[in-house]
Amino acid sequence: MTEDGNPMEIDEAAAAVSSGSEEISTETLRQYYQRLFPFSPYFLWLNHTSSPSTMFTHREFSFTINDGIYLRYQSFKTLDELQREVQRLVPSKIDIGAVFTAQPRNAKSLQPGAFKPVSKELVFDVDLTDYDEIRTCCQGGNICKLCWRFMVVAMHVVDRALREDFGFENLLWVYSGRRGVHCWVSDKRAQALDDAGRKAVAGYLGLIRGGAEQARKVALSQRQALHPHIKRSLDIIEEYFEDILLVDQEILLTRDRWLKVLAAIPDEDIRKTLDAKWSKHPDRSSVEKWSELIDVIDKHASKSRAKSWLGLFERSMMLQLAYPRLDENVSIHANHLLKSPFCVHPKTGRVCTPIANDAFDSFDPLAAPTLGQLLRELNSASSEATSLAPYIATFDSFAHTLQASAAQDTEPSQKGSLEF
């Protein structure tokens, strides 16, 4: 692969642009890749050690160039090679795939079957479009401060399950640049999972079942005690439920909205009672209506022993409305591509920044730096650091944690005491 070194004077390029996607051009992106993209921690994050191993050389990268051409199965022997190619092609998007049995760029010359994924970070993707049937503030690609809080809940729930239940330690959360979050788990054990293992973890974490034609999406077992993961998730959700669903989203405000919620109640009498009641007093707040709903359910529950779903209704409804909606397809295949951290989202111009482990609640996606803003900061010369700096610091320290734990892993085996 050739590259043409092209140091350019680009001071004017950034001056004209205003905000968001209009600021993205090959020129501004090139500046970004030349002056801002954190290549060196990026390499360490993927490779875990300072000299290139197969974790880097056999890794698939995929570039989107000229807004629509996908170049799959790119791979690089060194960080330098990757950096030069990125700066030459100026991709509008970089995706990361699996580590394969051979260098992906040679894939076509290999026997079919000889080219297989062997490892990859375990990844998760949560996207606000999957909350469209719940959120009332925005739809589709739009987000605001109110609906972003669903992502806050998602990060807390998934993060704790992965750490406490699965024992994973190296989790990197990344803002996807527009309307969701990604999680990259870099523990050796997570990377080694085959597709069946990934499917099992995703299944364990996935509670929301059923498509657009199924009103009840969470089925809790009536025979068994609640699973500890569900209990813990409910504890987390309870902290947020009233604020997000009732106060911010007002999910019971209008008849359209409350009918959607009532549809999940299997008992027609209860549905009709509540609908009639609220139709008489439509101006009551969602908080009031929710407590009426729970009262009615509780009364029915104490009367009839047979209808045991009633006892679980409040909890299953809270899960249905606030439990993370994971895109399982992203998680279950090791060779699924996922957008790389530190890409610039083509639609919003925002950088896909890491979200620090202690910043789930304070992270503001609408304050994530945009390409235009960063280039203006670079050119204003007032200070060394841009507003990307704190995110790079988070990333850098995460990458060094990986390096430290990789070093720890190799030590005992050098002494020759393999323990099982």
Partner: protein, 466 residues
């Protein structure tokens, strides 16, 4: 490093002397050793075909059975018919016991050979051999289970009763206090993890005694996977054996449910005529089609399911591009070309790995990739809420009794039978194809439904009896 207690079998088996010292002292086995004996070519074929019947019956039972008990019953019946395997307590003459065990042993190894050829065959065989072992383990008595666990040499760490509180804390309430718990890496019990049936803590799963089969099956799957890989490498050397190779190929060809292959030539359906054919679609495709017309969009799962179906009924690539472009009328040409055209060409084998993709079978639609929020794909009989299903059937002008029967079948888990009844009800309303024999075998793919509904083929039962 094994200071943990290891589960051990206790008590001897009740096997008579001659059995205990025979080649097959126990009934259940992990098939660790290949049979070193002579098998006639006739036996070779009948043994293998009988076992294949059993594996297929398991596949069938997983799809159709209503509940655990029904599934067990179906599998037990198939085993009784094709591959009986009596216990040492069964007072049958030891010659018969030996013959049964020999057949079980030999047939497993023949199929291992036959199914090692491709990745797809290996995974089919693996799945149903594991299901078979699991079934037999569940049905076995305590002594037999212990024997098998012992031969499998599973390394299990028992959580001492006194330590449970310390290890599990509040989570201990998830299990009953009498149950013994084993601590294992979560990777060894993925099925239990996926369904959240075990408590996890720091990467360890706590497996109750009752779920020990999951561990056994995991161990078996690991060993069989390795064995199949070895087998696949050895296979080319067998090509010279003219007697065996055709038999083996024939066997594996008969296995996995054949994909629907369209009998219709591409080009039989144009972009303009798709909408008018909608009345002949099965419910899943009617629903996707209606949603597409309503929203001018479908998410990925829906595009795949409907797109390949339309390909199967004869929509050519060119017409498909026209059809989908028109359907997605709220986006720009540019968006369509960048976001969707590639996938359509991909389905027709014109991009990527250039595979000519077949339409989805019912099995695939029902068993894999269930719809998530905002998704419209899937099988309505499986994935719709009961009221929604009834409403959809009414909308297709079905009479009340039919709707009730179909909804009941769906609720009982007979999704394909429900779909077949739907087809029959539709056909009854049409005098034009009265001569058409009502299908009695369940519909196995949406395209087959369409073919039967338009009368372009005879039903499977009719063609069988002809």
């Amino acid at each position: 490093m094994f200071n943990q207690r290891t589960a051990k079998a206790e008590g001897g088996s009740a096997a008579p002397e001659v059995v205990r010292h025979s080649r097959y002292p126990t009934r259940l086995t992990m098939y660790d050793k290949a049979p070193a004996l002579e098998v006639s070519i006739e036996e070779f074929e009948t043994f293998a075909l009988d076992r294949l019947q059993v594996l297929r019956a398991i596949e069938d039972a997983q799809l159709r059975a209503k509940g655990e008990d029904d599934m067990r019953k179906r599998i037990s019946e198939a085993l009784e018919r094709h591959l009986p395997l009596h216990t040492n307590r069964s007072r049958l003459p030891s010659r018969q016991l030996m013959a049964e065990r020999r057949k079980d042993h030999v047939s497993h190894f023949i199929l291992r050979l036959a199914f090692s050829r491709t990745e797809e065959l290996r995974s089919w065989f693996l799945r149903y051999e594991c299901a078979l072992l699991k079934h037999r383990f569940r049905e076995a008595d305590t002594a037999e289970r212990q024997e098998l666990l012992q031969t499998a040499r599973l390394q299990l760490a028992l959580v001492p009763q006194a330590m449970r509180d310390e290890v599990l804390g509040d989570a201990d309430a998830f299990y009953s206090p009498q149950e013994q718990l084993f601590e294992v890496d979560f990777e060894r019990v993925l099925d239990l993890v996926m369904r959240a049936q075990v408590v996890l803590h720091a990467g360890k799963a706590y497996v109750p005694q009752a779920e020990i089969a999951a561990l056994l099956v995991h161990e078996f799957r690991q060993r069989l996977t390795r064995a199949l890989a070895v087998c696949a490498k050895a296979l080319p050397q067998m090509d010279e054996d003219e007697r065996l190779v055709p038999v083996l190929q024939n066997m594996s060809n008969q296995s996995a449910r054949s994909e629907y292959r369209s009998s219709t030539a591409a080009g039989a359906v144009s972009a303009d005529s798709v909408d008018s054919l909608g009345a002949n679609f099965p419910l899943c495709m009617q629903h996707l089609h209606a949603q597409l017309l309503k929203d001018h969009h479908l998410r990925h799962g829906g595009r795949m399911q409907l797109g390949l179906f339309l390909k199967g009924i004869g929509l050519s690539l060119q017409e498909a591009l026209v059809y989908w472009r028109r359907a997605f009328n709220s986006m720009t040409d540019d968006q369509f070309q960048k976001g969707y055209a590639y996938n359509i060409r991909h389905n027709y084998g014109m991009e990527g790995r250039r595979a000519d993709y077949a339409p989805y079978s019912c099995h695939r639609i029902i068993m894999t990739n269930p719809p998530g929020p905002g998704d419209h794909h899937g099988c309505p009989f499986r994935h719709f809420a009961p009221e929604r299903l009834r409403a959809a059937l009414h909308q297709d002008s079905l009479a009340d009794p039919d709707v009730r029967e179909i909804a009941d079948l769906a609720a009982a888990g007979h999704y394909q039978v429900a779909c077949t009844r739907h087809l029959e009800a539709k056909l009854r309303r049409r005098p034009s194809i009265q001569g058409q024999e009502a299908p009695s075998a369940p519909v196995t793919s949406p395209n087959q439904f369409f073919d039967l509904c338009t009368g372009s083929v005879v039903s499977p039962s009719a063609s069988l009896s002809a």
